[in-house]
Symmetry: C2
Subunit: 490 residues, 2 copies
């Protein structure tokens, strides 16, 4: 066995263990008995202790020094392991374990606080998590910027300066578009009615199938906060059901199918190597968003969906497919990020990005967070937050320590804009398939040009290779302006 082989065998086991830890997270959010929180926190901490020990194993350093890559794939594998080794080695085992334990516990505290609209039950816990994450960030940053150090875990190579500049250039066009749309004479109707859970789930399943989701290597469950989980042969999705709003379930499902499909699309040969996962959260989100929005909320696919939903629910309050397309894409004031329309979604991210940078830097204390959130929300969205569950308590991310994660959602939208432009040129007859409820030509193009590569290329390179152009926010903004000008007859 060469040093490279030894390293890969060791890494393979680490990847398998990390996949187990992820499965445990899925279990906690879908099926775990509610009384098992302490036990699960111990289990997560034990898994993290094992994983951290392996990620900092001194043999890794030796193997990395001795290993001789045979090709570009080997080279990239070494890069990724080396990066992970460097990062993990900076974080003390005690801290890594403690973060796993506390975030597992905090998840339940957050869910209860959200259900009871009681931020005071949650903020002290958030304060502890924040302290741990700041300590982790200090260790990782090694004198550099704390937020950048955290961001780097989700979007390698990105920086807050770069993202702040991106957001600065996106905001004016988004705000103008929102004004035009909200002030337009034509306003799409809302969908009204009662939509039974079982029928919604059946529809959601057929949408997942329309996007080529491989049910033999996945499954769908209900979760408070939809997410996807897992890789290779076991990539699961979750969804939620609101009986007055079937779009919530359907588009949560298509979104999560985007994530899962990415994992399912990665070259099998990369399984349980560092190449065997989506390369970044931004790259991941590009898939979930292009599935959900550019494809799933496009005129062709919603034409098919209109028929399916009319059949399933025995008629709809919207009289035709054209009106239905406008309804699906309706822009309205709203509190909730995950339910936001395409025009406003990124404005939600900008709010979180600024607040979490302030939390990490220490400029903002958790005791002032509710006030800061509400003030900022009023400024950015023109409406006052009515209750904490619609404000600072709406997202699980901070509870589970995901600081630096939110901006990858907006990056994903930008990447999706780039991919969509290239895909439209490469697959000119796509709408013909989508109109029949078949999104697989789009999935195939994305699979061929992006998904199959897994972690082989850095995120920006990956998108630029797939599209043949530099990453830019322009395609996304052009697409939004064109789409919503059409719908709103601007």
């Amino acid at each position: 066995m060469s040093a490279f082989d030894d390293l890969l065998a060791f890494q393979r086991q680490t990847e398998a263990l990390s996949s187990v830890a992820e499965r445990l997270g899925w279990d906690q959010e879908t099926v775990m008995p509610r009384g098992a929180t302490e036990q699960r926190a111990e289990e997560m901490a034990a898994m993290e202790a094992v994983l951290h020990e392996r990620r900092t194993d001194p043999r890794l350093g030796e193997w990395l020094e001795q290993a001789e890559p045979q090709d570009a794939e080997d080279q990239r594998i070494l890069e990724l392991i080396s990066r992970d080794f460097r990062r993990a080695s900076r974080v003390p085992a005690r801290l890594a374990t403690e973060i796993a334990r506390q975030t597992s516990l905090a998840q339940g505290v957050w869910a209860d606080a959200r259900a009871n609209d009681a931020p005071d039950d949650f903020l002290p816990v958030l304060s502890d998590i924040l302290m741990l994450k700041r300590e982790e960030a200090s260790a990782l940053a090694d004198g550099g910027d704390l937020y950048d150090a955290l961001l780097d875990d989700y979007e390698p190579g990105a920086s807050q300066a770069q993202i702040a500049a991106l957001f600065d250039s996106m905001r004016p066009r988004l705000v103008t578009l929102r004004e035009d749309v909200l002030g337009a004479e034509f306003q799409p109707s809302a969908l009204s009615g009662h939509f039974a859970q079982e029928t919604q789930l059946r529809l959601a399943r057929s949408c997942a199938t329309a996007f080529g989701y491989d049910w033999a290597r996945g499954r769908m469950d209900i979760a408070v906060h939809p997410f996807s989980s897992g890789r290779w042969q076991d990539s699961r999705i979750t969804t939620r059901v609101v009986e007055t709003d079937p779009f919530n379930c359907i588009y949560s499902t298509i979104h999560e199918v985007g994530h899962s499909s990415y994992e399912q699309g990665i070259d099998d040969d990369y399984a349980f190597t560092p190449l065997g996962r989506g390369v970044s959260m931004g790259a991941h989100e590009s898939q979930s968003r292009i599935y959900e929005n550019q494809i799933g909320r496009g005129a062709a696919f919603t034409g098919w969906l209109y028929q399916r939903m009319s059949d399933a629910f025995d008629g709809l309050s919207i009289p035709d497919a054209e009106g239905f397309y406008a309804t699906v894409n309706r822009v309205t004031p709203g509190y909730i990020r995950t339910e936001a329309d395409e025009v406003q979604y990124n404005l939600h991210i900008m709010l979180r990005f600024d607040l979490e940078r302030d939390l990490i830097s220490g400029r903002l204390d958790t005791v002032d967070l509710v006030e800061a959130w509400n003030a900022r929300f009023l400024r950015d969205f023109g409406i006052a937050v009515d209750r904490p569950a619609n404000g600072v308590l709406q997202d699980v991310h901070w509870a589970v320590g995901l600081f630096g994660y939110f901006p990858t959602y907006a990056l994903g939208n930008v990447y999706a804009g780039c991919l969509n432009k290239a895909m439209a040129e490469a697959v000119p007859d796509l709408d013909r398939y989508l109109a029949q409820g078949d999104a697989t030509p789009a999935v195939e193009w994305l699979r061929e040009n992006m998904q199959r590569h897994g972690g082989l290329y850095p995120p920006r390179d990956l998108i630029e290779d797939a599209t043949g152009s530099d990453v830019s926010e322009a395609p996304l903004l052009d697409y939004l302006e064109e789409k919503f000008s059409g719908i709103y007859r601007l």
Copy 2:
């Protein structure tokens, strides 16, 4: 920190990891996508590699030498860790990992072979598993008896000689009782009808609740082969549904509640120590069997169940509670162990015990197993096996490497007989509660006298302390003869 504290902290993490591995097993048998078999095998192997490394960690030897127990609990903890350390150290890591991987894969192969009635698809895999288990047994036995070495994992202190003697003394009375019962003039009616899955599951849930199952620390799912899984705050049960036979679902559920209830009943202070689990498979089975049979199939509880089932299914084909009690306890020829009545159940175990001893010793080869099974079944039960799914393919145990496990089912029945005799004396008005669908006075007696102790006492000591008598098969056989003489009017 003393050596004892260090040891306990290390062990606590090992217990948490072992609980994770068990949860992964639950996932595989209930919710895992069918295409994830290879991935799951890798994950199980990786977990086993970690667990084996910890169980054989040289520091354990040092701590065990230096640790100073303060009381009997500490002493027992040291005994149990030391026992596990000695056993684990005899098994090479490669072998332990390979068994985890192959048994995870074999489970799917077995399930397919059983579904397709195709033993030839499964026997080569069984042959590989058997080879690995024989290798493990040799390592564990250290020159002693191979089967005893395996048995010791499930029932510490038991030996095949002792069990063979027990079975020899049980068989004649069981065979005579069966003859009398099958030849009796009075024969209870079968229950006929169609019983909808949802209604069965609702009934099964209310039965679990009647036995005090703590739903906040458990849940119920469907599995091909019902089992219970987990400990402390997360002990889950599974059941199955046959729409022509509601007793299958109801009594599988009560049986698994017995197992889960044992885990739920262990002193919280023992959580994630070696005392925090049921002490042996025999002790475990004593709980599942006494819940299922002595309590669940008794006249008092079935009186309540009769009303509940009549209401749930809008009438039953049995006209009264007395007839229903006889129907529940009906003795008929049948192939399937898990569906066997109390009279014949242990005869099924004896068949498996003899065959698996022959497999482990090498007297029987897997290529001859179907023939050997069928011949033995004809001799012991007087009927010819009609298809492999009703014969050698009916149980998952050998596929997942559980050789030496089956006899603990019969031991559990014997223990349950002892416990039932003592409980009847200690809780004389139990039937009054059971008649109202409340089994908690029985559960409380078992909890107080047995369950709460977890691993604190060796299995026989535990039963003898709880009952104040030596373990003997007599109470079980007396109970069976009295019960079935009554039902069959002998």
